[in-house]
Symmetry: C2
Subunit: 144 residues, 2 copies
DNA sequence: GAACAATCATTGACAAGAACAATGATTGTT
DNA sequence: AACAATCATTGTTCTTGTCAATGATTGTTC
């Protein structure tokens, strides 16, 4: 999705700005991840798996806000790329524990780097102090 | 404060926050506009038409960043709701001038009001000063 | 001015994704 | 033991965006 030059002048509503910038941010991330055969949702899963190793798919769906069926196909992709594995859950035979492979860790590292560069570009017009302020404000309204 | 480990790293990345908040913001707007039978894109068109009366569809597509074919169906909706009209362009018989009807102006006003309420909810955790700061920062990175 | 390319709105086809219900296997509960 | 609930998965439907093709008109070039 391309960016629109209408933002000058009257359309100053913050919510709308957020929406529009979110679009731009998302497509920029997707473009950056494309070279690895991933999209934003894959990356979100990788990132989550990197923090808690061994997550059930239901947990992924809940925490990331995706439909369980979406998790399935995303994991299929990650597994085919050798970035994640589904292991049997010793505690519950109907669920599976998803873990990152070493390759998954590696890719996550480089993908994180790429993502940070995307953010750099996005925030280019802002000074370091302003970036910190923006990050703080956004985090406050993100209500996790 | 002992955050969860996944709060650090990319979850705190500003670009990613923008993306997530954009998602939330967009769906909130769509929910608010649903009662009028509109979505965000319709609203964007109405808003643009309110500033320049008499816009060719191609102009809409370019300025808003939508595909021309998308404009067609969006305008069909607006026209069926009696909010906009397609008039012949005296200067070019293959293009059409799209204008807002009085009903379109009215609905835009109330829809704007609803949108502002959505934004209020979104920015609830912030003080008025902080909201102004956020709006300023967002606007700075939205103007390319 | 005639021939050709370009532009406008529109339509139709198409793939991609999200949302939702249904299923088989397993576990929890009464 | 019987029944409900949960997990991953599949399948289906519906929406969306994207793209190519079309008819009408305009611009351009020789």
């Amino acid at each position: 999705m391309n960016d629109a030059p209408w933002m000058h002048g009257l359309h100053a509503d913050t919510g709308y700005l957020l929406y529009r910038l979110g679009q731009r941010s998302g497509s920029a991330f997707n473009a950056a991840l494309e070279q690895h055969g991933l999209r934003l949702r894959h990356h979100a899963i990788l990132r989550y798996l990197a923090t808690v190793d061994g997550a059930r798919q239901r947990e992924l769906a809940d925490r990331l806000g995706y439909d369980p069926s979406a998790i399935v196909s995303l994991l299929d992709d990650l597994q085919q790329l050798g970035l994640a594995e589904r292991r049997p859950d010793p505690a519950d035979r109907r669920s599976r524990l998803v873990v990152l492979t070493p390759a998954g860790h590696d890719l996550l590292h480089t993908a994180d780097h790429d993502s940070r560069r995307v953010t750099e570009d996005l925030l280019a017009p802002l000074s370091p102090t302003e970036r910190a302020t923006l990050n703080d404000l956004l985090q406050r309204i993100s209500t996790l």
